[in-house]
Structures are given as C-alpha cells and as structure tokens.
C-alpha cells in the first residue's frame, strides 16, 4: 500500500488541531492549536506529562474521539483531508492505511473472540474478494512476524490466554497485517518490564525497515523516544511546548519544561544525587 503515494509531501500533516470536550462544566480544550507533520517513513515521538493530550491527538487523527469530544483544524493524510472525510471513506482509511496500537493490550482485544478472528475480520473487511483461508494465512504470517511461536495454533486462542507482552505483540500484528502507511503506537510499552519493552521496540523498528511505514510513538518515557524516533513533540496541558528533531530537543532543549523533564529522568548510569525537580511547583491546586 505504501507504494501508492500521491505526492511527495509529508505523509501526515496536522495543522492547528484543537480537541475539545463539552462537559457538564462547559467546554474544555484538551488539545490546543497543535501542529506537526510526519514525513514518509519517518518516526515522530510525542512526549509529555500524563493528561497532556497525547492520546486525544492520536484519536483525533483516527476520527475516534470518545463521546463528547470534537476536533477542529486540519488533518491531512497522504494529501487527503481527514476531518471532512465521510465516515464511510474514513473507515477505509482506518485500519487499512493508518493503524493504531492502543495502550492497554488486554482491554483493547475483545475477550470474547479468538485473536485470529480479530485479525482476520479487519483483513476481510478491507480486502474484498479474499477468502477466509487466505485471510487466515495472512493472520498467521502477521503473528509469526511478531515472533509468536506456534502461530498456527495460537491463532485460535483467546486474548486472556496470552501474557501481557504477547498481547501487545498481537495488537501490533493486527495493526501490521494490513501493511499500513502509518502506525500510531500509544504508549505501547508502559505496562511492560524492560526486557519485554526492548523486544517490542526492536520489533517496531524491524517492521518499519521492512515496509517503510511511518510511526507516531506516544509515550512519557523519554529514554524510549530518544532511542526510536527522529522527531519529537513535547506537549503540556494540551499545547506544544517544544518540537524538533530528537537530537536537537535532547541535546539543546529550549523550553523550560523540556529541560525540567529531561532533568527529572533518572539515569541508570548517571551520578547519584538529588533529582532536579526544583522548578516544578510542589503544591498546585487539585488538578491532575
């Protein structure tokens, strides 16, 4: 699919995106005037504190904002404007061209269906005229690609029969079975311990190398971002505080917040001392 390029600009351009919720207390903007772009084959990291709007941004791109949420601004994907795309066509984009890996792998897989079914159903709904047998073969292949052993048997297991790390890989397999142009991975490794995390990150880069897909990696783990992405967007309270290439941001952060964030990252091989948190106010209101 990724060969079907219509122009040579960036794959995804988000321009002036604002996501707001109407709540009992009125309108709340959770993402404010956000702009960024992802080049073809490139990897973008979005970092920031919890609740800063990272997930909402990605859901806005997918057109899957939860109830009560709405997005304004422009999201152009491969030359097409997604915000004004009819739901029917948007469905064609989802899964097929943009795939998303959600944060919590257990709750993101339907516990009532075999994992195979869940992979196959996406494939079947996007590829008309494909037989079940063929779809199943593709699913097994996808599982093999994420290093699930005995994929041909495991395809008939239910999600709960897999460990957390495996479930995460199944989500990735599901996303990759369609060979999308863009993968959005929302905190794919937060729940995992470092060894499993490393496996998954390796897998992602391997696949990108194979298919040339672009990646948006959302996380609050700065070390992970530094290892995987080319560009980075730092968010806070719904707004961008800093963006640039990963190297730039890490080696010469401009925003005060980014600097504080980087200071706060505990380093395994760093000298021991008080973590630098000085500028972060100790007592704020009650919000999180």
């Amino acid at each position: 699919m990724n060969a079907a390029t219509t122009n040579q600009g960036p794959l995804l351009t988000v321009d002036d995106l604002t996501v707001s919720f109407t709540t009992a207390k009125g309108r709340a903007d959770v993402v404010k005037n956000l702009s960024f772009s992802v080049p073809r084959g490139g990897a973008l990291g979005i970092v920031g504190e919890s609740g800063s709007g990272k997930s909402m941004t990605s859901l806005a791109v997918m057109g899957l904002l939860p109830k009560g949420g709405s997005a304004t601004g422009r999201i152009s994907f491969d030359g097409r404007e997604l915000t004004s795309l009819p739901e029917r066509e948007m469905r064609g984009v989802r899964g097929d061209r943009i795939a998303m890996i959600f944060q919590d792998p257990l709750s993101s897989l339907n516990p009532y269906y075999k994992v195979g079914t869940q992979i196959v159903e996406a494939y079947l709904s996007h590829r008309s005229g494909v037989s079940r047998r063929e779809a199943r073969r593709v699913a097994i292949e996808a599982l093999e690609r994420v290093h699930i052993r005995d994929a041909a048997q495991r395809i008939d297991h239910y999600p709960h029969q897999f460990s957390g790390g495996m479930r995460q890989r199944i989500m990735i397999a599901m996303a990759l079975s369609m060979e999308p142009d863009l993968i959005i991975a929302d905190e794919p490794t937060t729940a995992l311990d470092v060894t499993v995390q490393a496996q998954i990150l390796d897998l992602l880069s391997e696949i990108r190398k194979d298919t040339g897909a672009s990646l948006i990696l959302i996380t609050h783990d700065l070390a992970v971002v530094s290892e995987v992405t080319d560009d980075i967007v730092v968010m806070r309270e719904g707004a961008v505080v800093e963006q640039g290439t990963t190297e730039q941001v890490f080696s010469d952060p401009q925003a005060d917040y980014t600097r504080r964030l980087l200071d706060a990252v505990p380093r395994i091989d760093d000298e021991i001392g008080t973590l630098r948190t000085t500028a972060i106010p100790t007592v704020t209101g009650g919000t999180r």
Partner: protein, 323 residues
C-alpha cells in the same frame, strides 16, 4: 419480585476512570448532593409525592376529620341496594361528600380509605425496606468480607431462601400464622425473603472491595475486622445501598398489595391500597373508579420511588464517587 435484580452492578462507573474525577471546590459531599438533588425536577417531584403521602398517612385522622367521612363508616345512602349495591351517581359516587367516591357494598368513603391505606402500605414497605437493608448489608458484608466458613453458611442460606418460590411461601406462611399482627408479619416475612437480593450484591461488591489495596493498607495499620468492615468498606457501599433501598420500596409496596390481593394481607376492616385494589378488581367493569383511584395512588408511589432510586443513582454516581 423482579424489581430487585436490576443492573446496579453493571451501571456503577468503572473504578479509577479519570473521567469520573472531579475537581470541585471542597464542599461537604452531603451538601453538594443536596444541591444537585434540589435542582433535579424528577427527583423533586417524586420526593414531593412521597412526602405528601407520608404526611397523609401520619395525619390521616386529621385529614379524615376535614373530609367528613371516616374510613370505616358505612354510608347506605351512597349505594344502590337494587343494583348489587354499587355507588349511586357517576364515577363511582364521586361527590362533594365523598371526594373519591365510595366503596360498593358498604358505601365507605374511598378518600378516607386511601389516606388510611397509605399507613399500611407505607409502613409495610418502609419497614420491610429498612429491615431487608440492614439484614442484607450486614450479612452481605460478613459473607463477603470474612469469606470461608461464614461465607459458605450465609451463601447457602441465601441460596436456600432464593430457591424458595417466595410468593408461594409467603402465602403459605401467612395463611398458616394467626392474623393478630399482620403488618408486623408482613414486614417480617417480606424481609425474610427479601434480604438475600441485597446481600448478594453487597457480598459481591465486598468481595472486590476487600481486595482493594486500601483495605490491605488499613489492615497493615492494624485495623480490626470490625473497623475494616464498617469504616473502610461500608462507606463505599453507600450508593449501592441507597439505590437498592429505593428500588426495594416499590417492590414491597407491590408485594404487600399482591399479598392482600391474595387474601393474606392486612386484616379487615383496615384498608391498604393493595387490599383496596384487590377488592376493586371484580368491579372493574361497573365501577372503574373504585379500581382506578387506589391503582393510581399505588402507581404514582411506585413510580416515585423508582424515579427517586434512579435519580439518586445518577446524582450520587456522578459525584466524586469512584467505588
């Protein structure tokens, strides 16, 4: 009987969901609820109706003194002996004298009987609710928290009670027992069969609550079982209990009515709404008002409690409650 098994468990908001966290100013939770409540039209209307009925029940003698006819007084002039003793005049004999008409066969004032009937219906329903709630909460908590042998025993008893066709048993028990204090008996029998439904829910919630870390952390601070049950767990059951209780009230009004309909309710001549509806049933074609009036009062009461339960759940549920 089915009213009790609603989706409380299903409708409680997910634990720890950030969407449910509020950042309001720290007023006392009680006051905030009250304010939310006062602005909720259905809640206010249903509370209003319930309050009026409670007052009517309490002040029944006074009200009847004003309306002029007592609940037991026969008025032979208001019925027609030639026509099966049906009320004289249209609409079941509604007149300036008899505001809601009269009872066929006796000419007793329906208004007075409605007002007095509220006493029985409300007493039975409210006391049974209180009793079932206490039993259900205590046994549910004990079974859920203590587990093991206690749980086995309580669960078996609950299963045992629920396995009985409650209505059949109530009829059997009530008809076998002397009718001396039917109201008390009704309350006891209804409660006996009613508590397992609440207890079951309380138990299952307790089972999950006791696994919560705050219980473990209380335990780690040396809290006794009693302290854990009543200080740590009970406050988290608050909304479930409120909702279950408000849903129970209509159930019990209906049960009392049903038992009276089947002839094992309150002893005549004491009126209850259920008994009135029961005796009105055969007259539904010739004297529909006799049936419609107590029916409407009961319907509104049941509806008020159901609505109230609903609104309380919505209001309490939308608060800072995370359990």
């Amino acid at each position: 009987m089915t009213v009790t098994s609603t989706g409380i468990e299903a409708e409680t908001p997910a634990v720890g969901d950030p969407a449910h966290m509020r950042t309001e100013s720290p007023t006392a939770p009680g006051r905030r609820l009250l304010r939310a409540f006062a602005t909720d039209v259905p809640a206010v209307l249903s509370t209003g109706y319930i309050v009026v009925m409670v007052l009517a029940a309490i002040f029944a003698p006074l009200i009847v003194a004003v309306s002029g006819w007592g609940p037991y007084e026969f008025d032979q002039t208001a019925i027609d002996p030639n026509l099966g003793a049906i009320p004289v005049g249209p609409l079941g004999g509604i007149s300036a004298q008899h505001w809601f008409g009269v009872e066929p066969g006796s000419g007793r004032d329906i208004f007075a009987r409605i007002v007095y009937g509220a006493r029985v219906s409300l007493t039975v329903a409210l006391s049974a609710t209180v009793l079932t709630t206490i039993l259900g909460v205590v046994f549910g908590l004990l079974a859920g928290y203590l587990g093991g042998f206690v749980d086995t025993v309580i669960s078996r008893v609950m299963e045992f009670l629920m396995a009985f066709p409650a209505l059949i048993f109530m009829i059997a028990i009530l008809s076998a027992l002397p009718a001396d204090n039917r109201v008390l008996l009704l309350v006891l029998v209804i409660s006996l069969f009613g508590w397992p439904y609440l207890a079951r829910i309380v138990r299952s919630q307790t089972l999950s609550l006791k696994e919560r870390e705050f219980v473990e952390s209380a335990k780690a601070s040396g809290a006794t079982h009693v302290q854990i049950i009543f200080r740590e767990i009970l406050p988290n059951l608050q909304s479930t209990i409120i909702v279950m209780a408000t849903l129970a009230v209509p159930g019990y009004v209906g049960t009392e009515a049903g038992l009276s309909f089947l002839g094992v309710g309150v002893v005549p001549p004491t009126p209850s709404w259920g008994q009135m509806i029961a005796s009105a049933a055969p007259w539904y074609a010739v004297d529909p008002m006799y049936f419609v009036i107590p029916g409407a009062f009961l319907f509104l009461l049941v509806m008020s409690f159901t609505t109230l339960g609903d609104r309380v759940r919505v209001i309490v549920g939308s608060g800072e409650v995370r359990a």
